[in-house]
Protein backbone atom coordinates (compact mmCIF):
# COMPACT_ATOMS: atom_id res chain seq x y z
CA UNK A 1 0.00 0.00 0.00
CA UNK A 2 1.69 3.15 1.19
CA UNK A 3 5.42 2.84 0.92
CA UNK A 4 6.73 3.65 4.38
CA UNK A 5 9.87 5.67 4.14
CA UNK A 6 12.58 4.04 6.18
CA UNK A 7 15.49 6.09 7.43
CA UNK A 8 17.98 5.67 4.63
CA UNK A 9 21.68 5.35 5.28
CA UNK A 10 22.60 7.29 2.20
CA UNK A 11 20.46 10.19 0.97
CA UNK A 12 18.27 8.84 -1.81
CA UNK A 13 17.88 10.82 -5.00
CA UNK A 14 14.72 12.88 -4.71
CA UNK A 15 12.56 11.04 -7.22
CA UNK A 16 9.45 13.09 -6.56
CA UNK A 17 11.22 16.37 -7.31
CA UNK A 18 12.63 14.90 -10.51
CA UNK A 19 9.20 13.76 -11.59
CA UNK A 20 7.72 17.17 -10.81
CA UNK A 21 10.43 18.80 -12.89
CA UNK A 22 9.70 16.44 -15.80
CA UNK A 23 5.97 17.15 -15.57
CA UNK A 24 6.63 20.89 -15.47
CA UNK A 25 8.88 20.67 -18.51
CA UNK A 26 6.30 18.65 -20.39
CA UNK A 27 3.53 21.17 -19.61
CA UNK A 28 5.72 23.98 -20.94
CA UNK A 29 6.56 22.02 -24.10
CA UNK A 30 2.88 21.30 -24.75
CA UNK A 31 1.87 24.93 -24.18
CA UNK A 32 4.71 26.15 -26.40
CA UNK A 33 3.84 23.77 -29.24
CA UNK A 34 0.16 24.69 -28.98
CA UNK A 35 0.96 28.37 -29.27
CA UNK A 36 3.36 27.72 -32.16
CA UNK A 37 0.74 25.70 -34.07
CA UNK A 38 -1.85 28.47 -33.62
CA UNK A 39 0.55 31.18 -34.75
CA UNK A 40 1.69 29.19 -37.80
CA UNK A 41 -1.90 28.44 -38.81
CA UNK A 42 -3.19 32.00 -38.40
CA UNK A 43 0.02 33.46 -39.87
CA UNK A 44 -0.20 31.30 -42.98
CA UNK A 45 -3.85 32.18 -43.39
CA UNK A 46 -3.18 35.91 -43.03
CA UNK A 47 -0.14 35.84 -45.30
CA UNK A 48 -1.68 33.83 -48.12
CA UNK A 49 -4.76 36.02 -48.22
CA UNK A 50 -2.63 39.18 -48.20
CA UNK A 51 -0.48 37.85 -51.01
CA UNK A 52 -3.65 37.13 -52.94
CA UNK A 53 -3.01 33.36 -53.19
CA UNK A 54 -6.32 32.76 -51.48
CA UNK A 55 -9.36 34.93 -52.14
CA UNK A 56 -10.05 36.99 -49.04
CA UNK A 57 -13.66 37.50 -50.14
CA UNK A 58 -14.44 33.80 -49.70
CA UNK A 59 -12.06 32.82 -46.93
CA UNK A 60 -11.69 36.07 -44.98
CA UNK A 61 -8.56 36.54 -42.88
CA UNK A 62 -7.67 36.50 -39.16
CA UNK A 63 -7.25 40.27 -38.83
CA UNK A 64 -10.62 40.86 -40.50
CA UNK A 65 -12.26 38.31 -38.18
CA UNK A 66 -10.66 39.94 -35.14
CA UNK A 67 -11.82 43.37 -36.37
CA UNK A 68 -15.35 41.99 -36.85
CA UNK A 69 -15.35 40.55 -33.33
CA UNK A 70 -14.13 43.89 -31.97
CA UNK A 71 -16.95 45.73 -33.73
CA UNK A 72 -19.50 43.24 -32.38
CA UNK A 73 -18.13 43.62 -28.88
CA UNK A 74 -17.92 47.42 -28.90
CA UNK A 75 -20.81 48.42 -31.15
CA UNK A 76 -23.07 45.38 -31.03
CA UNK A 77 -24.30 43.25 -33.92
CA UNK A 78 -27.08 43.83 -36.43
CA UNK A 79 -29.32 41.70 -34.19
CA UNK A 80 -28.49 43.64 -31.03
CA UNK A 81 -25.77 43.46 -28.37
CA UNK A 82 -23.35 40.53 -28.89
CA UNK A 83 -23.75 39.35 -25.32
CA UNK A 84 -27.48 38.79 -25.93
CA UNK A 85 -26.75 36.57 -28.93
CA UNK A 86 -24.25 34.49 -26.96
CA UNK A 87 -26.69 34.24 -24.06
CA UNK A 88 -29.58 33.11 -26.29
CA UNK A 89 -27.52 30.35 -27.92
CA UNK A 90 -26.11 29.35 -24.54
CA UNK A 91 -29.63 29.05 -23.08
CA UNK A 92 -30.78 26.92 -26.00
CA UNK A 93 -27.72 24.70 -25.81
CA UNK A 94 -27.71 24.20 -22.07
CA UNK A 95 -31.50 23.72 -22.01
CA UNK A 96 -31.33 21.06 -24.72
CA UNK A 97 -28.28 19.46 -23.13
CA UNK A 98 -29.96 19.14 -19.73
CA UNK A 99 -33.33 18.02 -21.08
CA UNK A 100 -31.74 15.48 -23.44
CA UNK A 101 -29.37 14.14 -20.78
CA UNK A 102 -32.07 13.70 -18.15
CA UNK A 103 -34.42 11.97 -20.59
CA UNK A 104 -31.54 9.85 -21.88
CA UNK A 105 -30.59 8.74 -18.37
CA UNK A 106 -34.19 7.99 -17.39
CA UNK A 107 -34.91 5.94 -20.52
CA UNK A 108 -31.48 4.32 -20.55
CA UNK A 109 -31.75 3.16 -16.94
CA UNK A 110 -35.37 2.05 -17.35
CA UNK A 111 -34.66 0.01 -20.46
CA UNK A 112 -31.41 -1.30 -19.02
CA UNK A 113 -33.35 -2.58 -16.02
CA UNK A 114 -36.24 -4.11 -17.93
CA UNK A 115 -35.47 -6.68 -20.63
CA UNK A 116 -39.13 -6.65 -21.71
CA UNK A 117 -39.15 -2.90 -22.24
CA UNK A 118 -35.86 -2.97 -24.12
CA UNK A 119 -37.02 -5.83 -26.35
CA UNK A 120 -40.26 -4.03 -27.18
CA UNK A 121 -38.78 -0.56 -27.75
CA UNK A 122 -35.43 -1.67 -29.20
CA UNK A 123 -36.29 -1.58 -32.93
CA UNK A 124 -38.10 1.76 -32.62
CA UNK A 125 -35.15 3.37 -30.88
CA UNK A 126 -32.71 2.02 -33.44
CA UNK A 127 -34.92 3.31 -36.23
CA UNK A 128 -35.22 6.73 -34.60
CA UNK A 129 -31.47 6.81 -34.14
CA UNK A 130 -30.87 6.03 -37.81
CA UNK A 131 -32.72 9.07 -39.20
CA UNK A 132 -30.74 12.33 -39.49
CA UNK A 133 -32.16 13.94 -36.40
CA UNK A 134 -31.05 17.52 -37.13
CA UNK A 135 -33.91 17.53 -39.65
CA UNK A 136 -36.28 17.31 -36.70
CA UNK A 137 -35.31 20.98 -36.24
CA UNK A 138 -37.47 21.87 -39.27
CA UNK A 139 -40.44 20.07 -37.73
CA UNK A 140 -39.92 21.70 -34.34
CA UNK A 141 -39.65 25.15 -35.96
CA UNK A 142 -43.11 24.61 -37.42
CA UNK A 143 -44.68 22.83 -34.46
CA UNK A 144 -43.17 24.80 -31.57
CA UNK A 145 -42.65 28.17 -33.23
CA UNK A 146 -39.53 30.25 -33.71
CA UNK A 147 -38.84 30.90 -30.04
CA UNK A 148 -36.40 29.10 -27.76
CA UNK A 149 -38.49 25.94 -27.39
CA UNK A 150 -37.87 24.63 -30.92
CA UNK A 151 -34.08 25.01 -30.47
CA UNK A 152 -34.10 23.29 -27.10
CA UNK A 153 -36.09 20.45 -28.62
CA UNK A 154 -33.65 20.08 -31.53
CA UNK A 155 -30.64 20.05 -29.21
CA UNK A 156 -32.36 17.64 -26.81
CA UNK A 157 -33.13 15.15 -29.57
CA UNK A 158 -29.49 15.08 -30.59
CA UNK A 159 -28.26 14.70 -27.02
CA UNK A 160 -30.87 12.14 -25.98
CA UNK A 161 -29.68 9.21 -28.09
CA UNK A 162 -26.02 9.50 -27.18
CA UNK A 163 -26.74 9.65 -23.45
CA UNK A 164 -29.46 7.02 -23.74
CA UNK A 165 -27.22 4.39 -25.36
CA UNK A 166 -24.46 5.01 -22.84
CA UNK A 167 -26.76 4.86 -19.83
CA UNK A 168 -28.36 1.69 -21.21
CA UNK A 169 -25.01 0.02 -21.77
CA UNK A 170 -23.74 1.22 -18.39
CA UNK A 171 -26.67 -0.37 -16.57
CA UNK A 172 -26.26 -3.58 -18.57
CA UNK A 173 -22.59 -3.83 -17.64
CA UNK A 174 -23.08 -3.59 -13.88
CA UNK A 175 -21.12 -6.24 -12.00
CA UNK A 176 -23.58 -9.04 -11.07
CA UNK A 177 -21.71 -9.55 -7.79
CA UNK A 178 -22.43 -5.98 -6.71
CA UNK A 179 -26.14 -6.44 -7.35
CA UNK A 180 -26.19 -9.74 -5.45
CA UNK A 181 -24.30 -8.14 -2.57
CA UNK A 182 -26.68 -5.17 -2.40
CA UNK A 183 -29.71 -7.48 -2.45
CA UNK A 184 -28.27 -9.63 0.34
CA UNK A 185 -27.63 -6.46 2.36
CA UNK A 186 -31.31 -5.64 2.04
CA UNK A 187 -31.47 -3.09 -0.78
CA UNK A 188 -34.92 -2.71 -2.35
CA UNK A 189 -35.47 -1.98 -6.05
CA UNK A 190 -35.27 1.79 -5.58
CA UNK A 191 -32.01 1.61 -3.66
CA UNK A 192 -30.62 -0.87 -6.17
CA UNK A 193 -31.25 1.69 -8.90
CA UNK A 194 -30.01 4.78 -7.10
CA UNK A 195 -27.08 3.27 -5.20
CA UNK A 196 -25.79 0.55 -7.51
CA UNK A 197 -27.01 0.88 -11.10
CA UNK A 198 -26.75 4.63 -11.57
CA UNK A 199 -23.35 5.09 -9.87
CA UNK A 200 -22.04 2.17 -11.85
CA UNK A 201 -23.39 3.55 -15.12
CA UNK A 202 -22.14 7.04 -14.27
CA UNK A 203 -18.71 6.64 -15.84
CA UNK A 204 -20.41 5.67 -19.10
CA UNK A 205 -22.93 8.48 -18.85
CA UNK A 206 -20.33 11.13 -18.11
CA UNK A 207 -18.15 9.97 -20.97
CA UNK A 208 -21.13 10.56 -23.25
CA UNK A 209 -21.67 14.08 -21.89
CA UNK A 210 -18.39 15.23 -23.43
CA UNK A 211 -19.69 14.36 -26.89
CA UNK A 212 -23.25 15.39 -26.30
CA UNK A 213 -22.52 18.99 -25.34
CA UNK A 214 -21.03 19.49 -28.78
CA UNK A 215 -24.17 17.94 -30.25
CA UNK A 216 -26.38 20.24 -28.17
CA UNK A 217 -24.51 23.19 -29.68
CA UNK A 218 -25.10 21.79 -33.17
CA UNK A 219 -28.80 21.36 -32.36
CA UNK A 220 -29.16 24.92 -31.08
CA UNK A 221 -27.37 26.47 -34.06
CA UNK A 222 -29.21 24.35 -36.63
CA UNK A 223 -32.46 25.22 -34.86
CA UNK A 224 -31.61 28.88 -35.32
CA UNK A 225 -30.90 28.33 -39.01
CA UNK A 226 -34.44 27.01 -39.41
CA UNK A 227 -35.76 30.31 -38.19
CA UNK A 228 -34.83 32.64 -35.35
CA UNK A 229 -34.48 36.30 -34.47
CA UNK A 230 -31.59 36.01 -32.02
CA UNK A 231 -28.56 33.87 -31.37
CA UNK A 232 -25.11 33.05 -32.77
CA UNK A 233 -26.53 30.71 -35.40
CA UNK A 234 -28.82 33.45 -36.66
CA UNK A 235 -25.87 35.86 -36.57
CA UNK A 236 -23.83 33.50 -38.76
CA UNK A 237 -26.81 33.01 -41.06
CA UNK A 238 -27.28 36.77 -41.42
CA UNK A 239 -23.57 37.27 -42.12
CA UNK A 240 -23.69 34.60 -44.79
CA UNK A 241 -26.62 36.34 -46.48
CA UNK A 242 -24.53 39.54 -46.63
CA UNK A 243 -21.53 37.63 -48.07
CA UNK A 244 -19.75 38.69 -44.86
CA UNK A 245 -17.33 35.75 -44.43
CA UNK A 246 -15.49 37.50 -41.59
CA UNK A 247 -18.81 37.54 -39.72
CA UNK A 248 -19.31 33.79 -40.37
CA UNK A 249 -15.86 33.00 -38.99
CA UNK A 250 -16.33 35.36 -36.05
CA UNK A 251 -19.51 33.50 -35.12
CA UNK A 252 -17.78 30.14 -35.46
CA UNK A 253 -14.95 31.41 -33.22
CA UNK A 254 -17.45 32.33 -30.52
CA UNK A 255 -19.12 28.90 -30.75
CA UNK A 256 -15.75 27.18 -30.44
CA UNK A 257 -14.92 29.24 -27.36
CA UNK A 258 -18.26 28.26 -25.81
CA UNK A 259 -17.61 24.57 -26.47
CA UNK A 260 -14.16 24.78 -24.86
CA UNK A 261 -15.54 26.39 -21.70
CA UNK A 262 -18.29 23.76 -21.49
CA UNK A 263 -15.77 20.97 -21.95
CA UNK A 264 -13.74 22.28 -19.02
CA UNK A 265 -16.88 22.44 -16.87
CA UNK A 266 -17.86 18.86 -17.75
CA UNK A 267 -14.37 17.61 -16.94
CA UNK A 268 -14.59 19.32 -13.55
CA UNK A 269 -17.98 17.68 -12.98
CA UNK A 270 -16.55 14.31 -13.99
CA UNK A 271 -13.66 14.58 -11.53
CA UNK A 272 -16.09 15.50 -8.80
CA UNK A 273 -18.64 12.77 -9.47
CA UNK A 274 -16.27 9.87 -9.98
CA UNK A 275 -13.56 10.60 -7.48
CA UNK A 276 -13.84 6.97 -6.39
CA UNK A 277 -12.06 5.90 -9.54
CA UNK A 278 -8.28 5.55 -9.48
CA UNK A 279 -6.55 8.46 -11.19
CA UNK A 280 -5.41 7.53 -14.65
CA UNK A 281 -1.66 7.13 -14.76
CA UNK A 282 -1.36 8.82 -18.10
CA UNK A 283 -3.38 11.63 -19.50
CA UNK A 284 -4.95 10.04 -22.54
CA UNK A 285 -7.87 12.36 -23.14
CA UNK A 286 -7.63 15.40 -25.38
Amino acid sequence: MNADTEPAERPLPDLAAGRRRDAQRRRLTVAGLRLLLGVVFLGTWELTTRLGWIDVFFWSQPTAIAAKLWIWITQGTDLGPLWDQVLVTMEETVGGFIAGSILGIIFGVALGRSPLLSDVLGPYIKAANAIPRVLMGALFAVALGLDIRSKIATAAVLVFFVVFFNAFQGVREVDRNLIANARILGADERRLTTEILIPSALSWIIASLHISFGLALVGAVVGELFGATQGLGELIYAAKNNFDTAGVFAGITLLAAMALVAEALITALENRLIKWRPQAVTEARI
Binding site: M1, L178, N181, G186, S200, L202, P278
Partner: protein, 282 residues
Protein backbone atom coordinates in the same frame (compact mmCIF):
# COMPACT_ATOMS: atom_id res chain seq x y z
CA UNK B 1 -22.94 -39.76 7.46
CA UNK B 2 -25.95 -38.81 9.50
CA UNK B 3 -29.12 -38.49 7.52
CA UNK B 4 -31.78 -38.05 10.16
CA UNK B 5 -35.26 -37.65 8.74
CA UNK B 6 -36.89 -34.53 10.14
CA UNK B 7 -40.47 -33.46 9.90
CA UNK B 8 -41.13 -29.75 9.90
CA UNK B 9 -43.10 -28.49 12.83
CA UNK B 10 -43.75 -24.72 13.01
CA UNK B 11 -44.00 -24.77 16.81
CA UNK B 12 -40.54 -26.18 17.21
CA UNK B 13 -38.64 -23.50 15.31
CA UNK B 14 -36.11 -23.40 18.12
CA UNK B 15 -35.32 -27.02 17.56
CA UNK B 16 -34.89 -26.80 13.82
CA UNK B 17 -31.38 -26.67 12.36
CA UNK B 18 -30.01 -23.39 11.06
CA UNK B 19 -29.82 -24.71 7.51
CA UNK B 20 -31.31 -27.80 6.03
CA UNK B 21 -31.11 -28.92 2.41
CA UNK B 22 -33.10 -32.01 1.47
CA UNK B 23 -32.52 -33.83 -1.84
CA UNK B 24 -31.73 -30.56 -3.51
CA UNK B 25 -31.08 -30.53 -7.24
CA UNK B 26 -30.08 -27.46 -9.21
CA UNK B 27 -30.04 -27.30 -12.98
CA UNK B 28 -28.96 -24.39 -15.13
CA UNK B 29 -29.77 -23.67 -18.73
CA UNK B 30 -26.53 -23.29 -20.64
CA UNK B 31 -26.27 -20.53 -23.27
CA UNK B 32 -26.31 -23.20 -26.00
CA UNK B 33 -29.69 -24.44 -24.74
CA UNK B 34 -28.45 -27.52 -22.92
CA UNK B 35 -29.08 -28.36 -19.28
CA UNK B 36 -26.26 -28.37 -16.80
CA UNK B 37 -26.83 -30.09 -13.48
CA UNK B 38 -24.76 -28.38 -10.83
CA UNK B 39 -26.14 -30.22 -7.77
CA UNK B 40 -27.96 -33.54 -7.50
CA UNK B 41 -29.85 -34.87 -4.47
CA UNK B 42 -27.77 -32.92 -2.02
CA UNK B 43 -28.52 -33.29 1.71
CA UNK B 44 -26.94 -31.02 4.26
CA UNK B 45 -27.74 -29.98 7.82
CA UNK B 46 -26.01 -27.14 9.64
CA UNK B 47 -26.78 -26.63 13.34
CA UNK B 48 -27.21 -23.18 14.90
CA UNK B 49 -23.83 -21.67 15.76
CA UNK B 50 -21.94 -24.32 13.84
CA UNK B 51 -18.96 -23.48 11.63
CA UNK B 52 -19.12 -25.70 8.56
CA UNK B 53 -16.72 -25.93 5.69
CA UNK B 54 -17.63 -27.23 2.27
CA UNK B 55 -14.78 -28.67 0.22
CA UNK B 56 -14.79 -30.24 -3.20
CA UNK B 57 -13.10 -30.13 -6.56
CA UNK B 58 -13.44 -27.17 -8.92
CA UNK B 59 -16.86 -26.86 -10.50
CA UNK B 60 -18.64 -29.20 -8.09
CA UNK B 61 -21.36 -26.72 -7.21
CA UNK B 62 -20.01 -25.37 -3.92
CA UNK B 63 -20.91 -21.80 -4.78
CA UNK B 64 -24.30 -22.90 -6.08
CA UNK B 65 -25.04 -24.36 -2.65
CA UNK B 66 -24.49 -20.93 -1.09
CA UNK B 67 -26.64 -19.25 -3.74
CA UNK B 68 -29.49 -21.65 -2.86
CA UNK B 69 -29.20 -21.06 0.89
CA UNK B 70 -29.10 -17.27 0.43
CA UNK B 71 -32.14 -17.31 -1.83
CA UNK B 72 -30.27 -15.67 -4.71
CA UNK B 73 -31.12 -18.79 -6.75
CA UNK B 74 -34.13 -21.10 -6.35
CA UNK B 75 -33.63 -24.86 -6.18
CA UNK B 76 -34.88 -26.88 -9.15
CA UNK B 77 -35.97 -29.73 -6.88
CA UNK B 78 -35.90 -30.50 -3.18
CA UNK B 79 -36.29 -28.26 -0.17
CA UNK B 80 -34.05 -25.58 1.27
CA UNK B 81 -34.92 -24.43 4.78
CA UNK B 82 -33.36 -21.79 6.98
CA UNK B 83 -34.36 -21.99 10.64
CA UNK B 84 -37.29 -24.18 9.69
CA UNK B 85 -38.63 -21.76 7.10
CA UNK B 86 -38.56 -22.66 3.42
CA UNK B 87 -36.28 -20.28 1.52
CA UNK B 88 -38.26 -18.15 -0.90
CA UNK B 89 -36.20 -15.21 -2.10
CA UNK B 90 -33.60 -13.43 -0.04
CA UNK B 91 -34.33 -13.81 3.66
CA UNK B 92 -33.31 -11.58 6.55
CA UNK B 93 -30.43 -12.61 8.74
CA UNK B 94 -28.14 -13.82 5.98
CA UNK B 95 -24.63 -12.49 5.42
CA UNK B 96 -22.71 -13.32 2.27
CA UNK B 97 -19.03 -12.72 1.61
CA UNK B 98 -18.36 -13.18 -2.08
CA UNK B 99 -15.31 -14.67 -3.71
CA UNK B 100 -14.72 -11.68 -5.96
CA UNK B 101 -14.63 -8.13 -4.64
CA UNK B 102 -18.21 -7.08 -4.04
CA UNK B 103 -17.70 -3.94 -1.99
CA UNK B 104 -19.14 -0.92 -3.76
CA UNK B 105 -16.29 0.95 -5.44
CA UNK B 106 -18.10 4.32 -5.36
CA UNK B 107 -18.68 4.21 -1.62
CA UNK B 108 -16.08 4.94 1.02
CA UNK B 109 -15.26 2.29 3.62
CA UNK B 110 -17.69 3.96 6.03
CA UNK B 111 -20.49 4.14 3.46
CA UNK B 112 -19.88 0.53 2.42
CA UNK B 113 -20.17 -0.78 5.95
CA UNK B 114 -23.14 1.48 6.73
CA UNK B 115 -25.04 0.24 3.66
CA UNK B 116 -26.71 -2.74 5.37
CA UNK B 117 -28.23 -0.84 8.32
CA UNK B 118 -29.33 1.96 5.97
CA UNK B 119 -31.06 -0.51 3.67
CA UNK B 120 -32.91 -1.98 6.62
CA UNK B 121 -34.20 1.43 7.65
CA UNK B 122 -31.72 2.77 10.22
CA UNK B 123 -31.16 6.52 10.24
CA UNK B 124 -28.02 7.79 8.55
CA UNK B 125 -26.47 8.81 11.86
CA UNK B 126 -27.22 5.54 13.54
CA UNK B 127 -25.92 3.54 10.59
CA UNK B 128 -22.68 5.51 10.53
CA UNK B 129 -22.16 5.09 14.24
CA UNK B 130 -22.58 1.33 14.02
CA UNK B 131 -20.37 1.25 10.93
CA UNK B 132 -17.55 3.02 12.82
CA UNK B 133 -17.78 0.40 15.53
CA UNK B 134 -17.52 -2.45 13.02
CA UNK B 135 -14.72 -0.78 11.12
CA UNK B 136 -12.68 -0.70 14.30
CA UNK B 137 -13.58 -4.33 15.05
CA UNK B 138 -12.11 -5.47 11.74
CA UNK B 139 -9.07 -3.25 12.34
CA UNK B 140 -9.68 -0.56 9.74
CA UNK B 141 -9.97 2.50 11.99
CA UNK B 142 -8.53 5.51 10.22
CA UNK B 143 -9.53 4.22 6.80
CA UNK B 144 -13.20 5.28 7.00
CA UNK B 145 -12.94 7.80 4.19
CA UNK B 146 -10.90 5.73 1.76
CA UNK B 147 -12.35 4.30 -1.41
CA UNK B 148 -11.90 0.57 -2.11
CA UNK B 149 -9.34 1.18 -4.86
CA UNK B 150 -7.10 2.77 -2.24
CA UNK B 151 -7.08 -0.40 -0.11
CA UNK B 152 -5.15 -3.66 -0.37
CA UNK B 153 -6.94 -6.92 -1.15
CA UNK B 154 -6.87 -7.96 2.52
CA UNK B 155 -8.33 -4.65 3.62
CA UNK B 156 -11.14 -4.93 1.07
CA UNK B 157 -11.97 -8.36 2.52
CA UNK B 158 -12.15 -6.78 5.97
CA UNK B 159 -14.59 -4.22 4.60
CA UNK B 160 -16.65 -7.05 3.09
CA UNK B 161 -16.63 -8.87 6.45
CA UNK B 162 -17.71 -5.80 8.40
CA UNK B 163 -20.35 -5.08 5.76
CA UNK B 164 -21.87 -8.53 6.30
CA UNK B 165 -21.45 -8.81 10.05
CA UNK B 166 -22.92 -5.40 10.88
CA UNK B 167 -26.36 -6.77 10.02
CA UNK B 168 -25.94 -9.37 12.76
CA UNK B 169 -26.58 -12.32 10.46
CA UNK B 170 -27.70 -15.62 11.94
CA UNK B 171 -26.12 -17.33 8.97
CA UNK B 172 -22.88 -16.25 7.33
CA UNK B 173 -22.12 -17.66 3.90
CA UNK B 174 -18.56 -17.33 2.67
CA UNK B 175 -17.48 -18.24 -0.83
CA UNK B 176 -13.70 -18.79 -0.90
CA UNK B 177 -13.37 -15.37 0.70
CA UNK B 178 -9.63 -15.50 1.27
CA UNK B 179 -8.51 -17.36 -1.85
CA UNK B 180 -7.13 -14.21 -3.47
CA UNK B 181 -5.00 -13.25 -0.44
CA UNK B 182 -1.37 -14.03 0.19
CA UNK B 183 -0.62 -16.77 2.72
CA UNK B 184 0.31 -14.52 5.65
CA UNK B 185 -2.63 -12.17 5.24
CA UNK B 186 -4.84 -15.17 4.86
CA UNK B 187 -4.00 -16.83 8.17
CA UNK B 188 -4.35 -13.46 9.92
CA UNK B 189 -7.80 -13.04 8.40
CA UNK B 190 -8.75 -16.61 9.33
CA UNK B 191 -7.91 -15.99 12.98
CA UNK B 192 -9.85 -12.75 12.96
CA UNK B 193 -12.81 -14.47 11.37
CA UNK B 194 -12.79 -17.09 14.14
CA UNK B 195 -12.67 -14.39 16.81
CA UNK B 196 -15.55 -12.50 15.22
CA UNK B 197 -17.56 -15.69 14.81
CA UNK B 198 -16.94 -16.72 18.43
CA UNK B 199 -18.38 -13.38 19.57
CA UNK B 200 -21.53 -13.97 17.52
CA UNK B 201 -23.97 -16.84 17.46
CA UNK B 202 -23.97 -17.19 13.70
CA UNK B 203 -23.76 -20.41 11.75
CA UNK B 204 -21.12 -20.27 9.07
CA UNK B 205 -20.94 -22.10 5.77
CA UNK B 206 -17.44 -21.61 4.43
CA UNK B 207 -16.76 -22.78 0.90
CA UNK B 208 -13.13 -23.47 0.05
CA UNK B 209 -11.00 -25.74 -2.10
CA UNK B 210 -8.29 -25.76 0.54
CA UNK B 211 -8.71 -28.69 2.93
CA UNK B 212 -6.22 -27.27 5.45
CA UNK B 213 -8.21 -24.08 5.69
CA UNK B 214 -11.43 -26.07 5.99
CA UNK B 215 -10.22 -28.20 8.90
CA UNK B 216 -8.48 -25.45 10.82
CA UNK B 217 -11.57 -23.23 10.80
CA UNK B 218 -14.54 -25.52 11.13
CA UNK B 219 -16.54 -27.86 13.35
CA UNK B 220 -17.68 -29.94 10.42
CA UNK B 221 -16.40 -30.52 6.90
CA UNK B 222 -18.67 -31.53 4.04
CA UNK B 223 -17.00 -33.22 1.09
CA UNK B 224 -18.81 -32.64 -2.18
CA UNK B 225 -18.40 -34.97 -5.13
CA UNK B 226 -17.21 -33.93 -8.56
CA UNK B 227 -20.13 -32.29 -10.40
CA UNK B 228 -23.04 -32.80 -10.31
CA UNK B 229 -22.30 -32.18 -6.66
CA UNK B 230 -23.76 -34.10 -3.80
CA UNK B 231 -22.49 -34.61 -0.26
CA UNK B 232 -20.11 -37.56 -0.29
CA UNK B 233 -19.43 -37.53 3.42
CA UNK B 234 -19.22 -35.21 6.38
CA UNK B 235 -16.68 -35.17 9.15
CA UNK B 236 -16.79 -33.73 12.63
CA UNK B 237 -13.63 -31.75 13.41
CA UNK B 238 -13.10 -32.16 17.17
CA UNK B 239 -10.09 -29.91 17.55
CA UNK B 240 -10.25 -27.69 20.65
CA UNK B 241 -11.23 -24.03 20.47
CA UNK B 242 -10.12 -21.28 20.56
CA UNK B 243 -7.77 -22.17 17.76
CA UNK B 244 -4.78 -20.47 16.26
CA UNK B 245 -5.06 -21.23 12.59
CA UNK B 246 -1.35 -20.75 11.97
CA UNK B 247 -0.39 -23.37 14.58
CA UNK B 248 -3.22 -25.85 14.71
CA UNK B 249 -1.89 -27.52 11.55
CA UNK B 250 1.04 -28.92 13.56
CA UNK B 251 -1.15 -30.92 15.95
CA UNK B 252 -1.00 -34.67 15.35
CA UNK B 253 -4.78 -34.94 15.47
CA UNK B 254 -5.03 -32.35 12.70
CA UNK B 255 -2.94 -34.58 10.47
CA UNK B 256 -5.16 -37.57 11.27
CA UNK B 257 -8.31 -35.69 10.33
CA UNK B 258 -6.62 -34.33 7.24
CA UNK B 259 -5.60 -37.78 6.08
CA UNK B 260 -9.04 -39.21 6.63
CA UNK B 261 -10.84 -36.49 4.70
CA UNK B 262 -8.21 -36.31 1.98
CA UNK B 263 -8.74 -40.01 1.18
CA UNK B 264 -12.34 -39.09 0.37
CA UNK B 265 -11.60 -35.86 -1.41
CA UNK B 266 -8.73 -37.18 -3.51
CA UNK B 267 -10.95 -39.44 -5.66
CA UNK B 268 -13.27 -36.56 -6.45
CA UNK B 269 -10.42 -34.25 -7.31
CA UNK B 270 -9.03 -36.89 -9.66
CA UNK B 271 -12.40 -37.40 -11.35
CA UNK B 272 -12.75 -33.67 -11.86
CA UNK B 273 -9.18 -33.38 -13.14
CA UNK B 274 -9.62 -36.19 -15.65
CA UNK B 275 -12.81 -34.57 -16.93
CA UNK B 276 -11.14 -31.20 -17.35
CA UNK B 277 -8.26 -32.82 -19.23
CA UNK B 278 -10.68 -34.57 -21.54
CA UNK B 279 -12.79 -31.48 -22.23
CA UNK B 280 -9.59 -29.51 -22.73
CA UNK B 281 -8.31 -32.06 -25.27
CA UNK B 282 -11.61 -32.21 -27.14
Amino acid sequence: MDCVERTWDPTSAVMSPAIELRRVTKRFLTPSGGIYTALRDLDMVVEPGEFCAVVGPTGCGKSTTLALISGLEPASEGEVEVFGQPVNGIADGIGYVFQADAVFPWKTVLENVAAGPRYSGASNRDARERARDWISRVGLSGFEDRYPYQLSGGMRKRVALAQSLINGPRILLMDEPFSALDVQTRSLMENELLALWAASSASVVFVTHDLEEAISLSDRVFVITAGPGTVKSNYKVDLPRPRNVAEIRFQPHFAEIYEEIWKDLKDEVLVSYERQKRSGAA
